[in-house]
Each structure stands twice: as structure tokens, then as C-alpha cells.
């Protein structure tokens, strides 16, 4: 019976996310919209902690760890958000976005570890024998997108507070594309790899994704940073949605995809407000002739 209450919590949360986002997009209701979404999030979190049951009907344990982490995170979050200067708001958003990306990536890494260990126990020769392709896709997409978002957001944060300079070198765009292709290839190799090596390939995938995230943001100029942060924001949304697939959790899926879609549109709108195209922002700083981006 308790499980049904959790389902209702998630439905309520999903509705508050939609309504909250809607209210945030109009000046008169924006502040209330933020509170509505926050209330929904609170319900979803509390509901998950106390009512969640896994497939075998077992409740969660490790409560001490969970509460300790929640309290540490909440204290740091409130202090950081309250202390930040008004002018430094966008970099703060970027920082928090990076945290969300890292969170999504870590979830996927742990989930990979479970699948990997299960396959090891069953003595599978190839990693792919132990996992459904769709499940692996959700794991690997979550870890790649989350890592890119984390690394990119951290660079954006560092650039806005002045600790990173724009770095531009020759053929940067080509190198970035190659690295991105490398991430995809490694992700595919992991799936088909001999099980004993699958974890190494997976770790390499994540590391290369982190490198890609850094290189992706490095050349972009400071004035364009809000656009990039918005883009990374929508990436994290998608990464969160991958987590929703992993746990069959509709609140995560709704929130993640909603932000992914709204964030992408918002990115385009921000570009338009600056009279530029997204491609222009992403490759503009080094004036390349390439049109992909």
C-alpha cells in the first residue's frame, strides 16, 4: 500500500515541475513558480527516502549515510547560494549545474559497477551477455552526458570567476570532434568487450567524456557563457532522465526531459536575444569555416 503513496508523491512532483516551469516563464508568477517546484521536489525526496521499495519489496537502508549527505549538501548549498554576489549568479548556476551532472554521472557509474559485477559472477565471456542494450544505453548515456556537463560547467564556472582564460589552438574544432567520436567508439567497445576488460573501457569512456567537456567549453568566449551554461543545463536534464530510465522512475524522467527540452529551447532563445546563432556561439570564437557544431 505504501508504494501507492510514493507513486502519488511522484505524480505531484511531476505536476509541480511542469507548473513551476510554466510560472517561471512569466514575470508576475516567477517567484511563486520557483517555490511550487521546490515544494514538489521536497515531496519527491522525502517520499523516496521513506516509502521507496525495490523490486523485492525491501525498503532502503543506510539512512545514516543518506541523511548525513543530505545535511552536508543542504548546508553547503544554502551557504553558497546566500553568500554569492548578485553579479556572480550565472557562475553559481553553472556550479550547481555541474554538481547535478556529476551526480547523474556517479549514479550511472555505480549502476555500471552492479551490472559488471553481476556479469562477472555469472562468468560471462562478453559484457554484452549480461545486459540489455537499452539498459546499457541508459547507463552509458547518463555517464557520458553527465560527465560532459560536469566538466563543462566547471570550466564555465572557472571562466566566469576568472580562473580560466579562453584557450584557442589550431584545429580545435576537429580535435574536439575526434575526441567526441572517441567517446562514442569507446562506449561501443565497452559493450562488446570481453568481460574482464569491460570496466577499463568504461572508465576510459568516462575520462574521455570529461576531457571532451573541458575542451568543449574552453574556446568559448566569456560573453557567450550564459548560452553555454544553458546548453549544459539541458544536458544535465537529459542525464537525469537517463537515471529515470535506470530506475523506472517517472518523476526523474519527467523532470529531466522537461528541463532538457525547455533548456534547449531556452538556449536558442538566448542566442536569438543576442542576435546570434547557436552554431555561431559554439564555433564562433575561432572563426572556423566548419558548419557542424
Amino acid at each position: 500500500m505504501k508504494f501507492d503513496i510514493l507513486t502519488i508523491c511522484y505524480i505531484v512532483a511531476a505536476v509541480t515541475f511542469i507548473v513551476g516551469l510554466k510560472m517561471l516563464s512569466s514575470p508576475a508568477t516567477a517567484r511563486r513558480g520557483n517555490l511550487v517546484a521546490a515544494a514538489g521536489m521536497f515531496i519527491a525526496i522525502v517520499g523516496t527516502i521513506f516509502l521507496y521499495k525495490d523490486e523485492d519489496g525491501l525498503p532502503l537502508h543506510n539512512y545514516a549515510w543518506i541523511f548525513a549527505a543530505l545535511i552536508i549538501g543542504a548546508i553547503i548549498g544554502v551557504v553558497a547560494a546566500k553568500k554569492v554576489k548578485m553579479t556572480a549568479m550565472p557562475e553559481m548556476v553553472s556550479f550547481f549545474n555541474g554538481m547535478g551532472g556529476a551526480c547523474a554521472a556517479l549514479i550511472s557509474v555505480i549502476e555500471f559497477d552492479y551490472v559488471f559485477r553481476a556479469a562477472e559472477k555469472m562468468n560471462y565471456v562478453h559484457f554484452s551477455e549480461g545486459v540489455v542494450p537499452g539498459h546499457y544505453l541508459a547507463i552509458v548515456a547518463g555517464s557520458i552526458i553527465g560527465s560532459v556537463s560536469f566538466a563543462g560547467s566547471m570550466v564555465a564556472w572557472g571562466k566566469l570567476n576568472g580562473s580560466f582564460k579562453d584557450v584557442i589552438f589550431k584545429a580545435q574544432h576537429t580535435i574536439n570532434l575526434l575526441i567526441f567520436a572517441g567517446v562514442i567508439v569507446l562506449a561501443i567497445i565497452t559493450f562488446f568487450a570481453v568481460n574482464a576488460y569491460a570496466d577499463y573501457f568504461f572508465i576510459a569512456t568516462v575520462i574521455l567524456a570529461l576531457i571532451y567537456g573541458v575542451l568543449f567549453v574552453l574556446p568559448i568566449g566569456g560573453a557567450d557563457m550564459p548560452v553555454v551554461i544553458s546548453l549544459l543545463n539541458s544536458f544535465t536534464g537529459v542525464a537525469a532522465a537517463c537515471g529515470g530510465f535506470l530506475y523506472n522512475n517517472k518523476a526523474m524522467l519527467t523532470g529531466g526531459i522537461l528541463v532538457g527540452a525547455a533548456g534547449t529551447l531556452l538556449t536558442i532563445l538566448m542566442c536569438k536575444a543576442m542576435n546570434r546563432s547557436l552554431t555561431n556561439v559554439l564555433i564562433g570564437s575561432f572563426g572556423g569555416n566548419e558548419t557542424s557544431g
Binding site: N34, W65, V78, A81, A102, I110, A240, K250, I257, L269
Partner: protein
């Protein structure tokens, strides 16, 4: 191939949600005035902090001897909380500033 198709039918509700949310997300912020771009971005940032639910589940299901999952899960919950709490507080501060200006 068969496994993929099976996965699709097993997750069809999820796939419907994905498709509908893509359109809804685009639809509901379509007419946002440009002054609200940054607060909206910040608010959306806080909403994707819902990923913390996944972190809590990971943490709560980890066995006591699986230190990798415990440590990474602990870290994930901290980072997720930062995202949620910080995101909403920062958004609120931004919007508070908007009110004072008027």
C-alpha cells in the same frame, strides 16, 4: 534486435513520457520574456536536480560491504542536494532582485 524491441515494449510508458515532455517543455517556455532568461535557466537547473532521487535510491540499496557504491553514492547525494537546494535558493534570490528593481 529482439532484445531491443522487448526493451522498447517494456518501457513504452517511459518512451511516451519522453515524447510528450519534449513537446511540453518547448511549449511552456515558448513566450518567456528575455529578462527572465537567467532566472528560468536557474529554475530549470534546480528542477533537474531531481536526479537526487536516483542518488538516494543508489545509496539506500548499496550493501554495507560495497564500499565503492557507498562512497560514490554518498558523494552523489551530496552533489545532488547541492544542485537542488542551491538551485532553488539562487533562483529565489535572483527573482527577489527583480522585484526590488520595479
Amino acid at each position: 534486435m529482439e532484445a531491443t524491441l522487448q526493451w522498447i515494449s517494456a518501457n513504452q510508458q517511459m518512451i511516451y513520457i519522453v515524447i510528450l515532455m519534449i513537446f511540453l517543455g518547448i511549449e511552456i517556455i515558448g513566450r518567456v520574456p528575455s529578462v527572465l532568461h537567467t532566472p528560468l535557466m536557474s529554475g530549470a537547473n534546480a528542477i533537474h536536480g531531481v536526479v537526487i532521487i536516483g542518488a538516494i535510491i543508489v545509496m539506500g540499496r548499496a550493501s554495507e560491504h560495497n564500499y565503492l557504491a557507498l562512497i560514490l553514492g554518498f558523494l552523489a547525494v551530496i552533489l545532488g542536494t547541492l544542485n537542488v537546494v542551491g538551485g532553488f535558493v539562487v533562483t529565489d534570490r535572483m527573482l527577489e532582485m527583480f522585484k526590488k528593481k520595479k
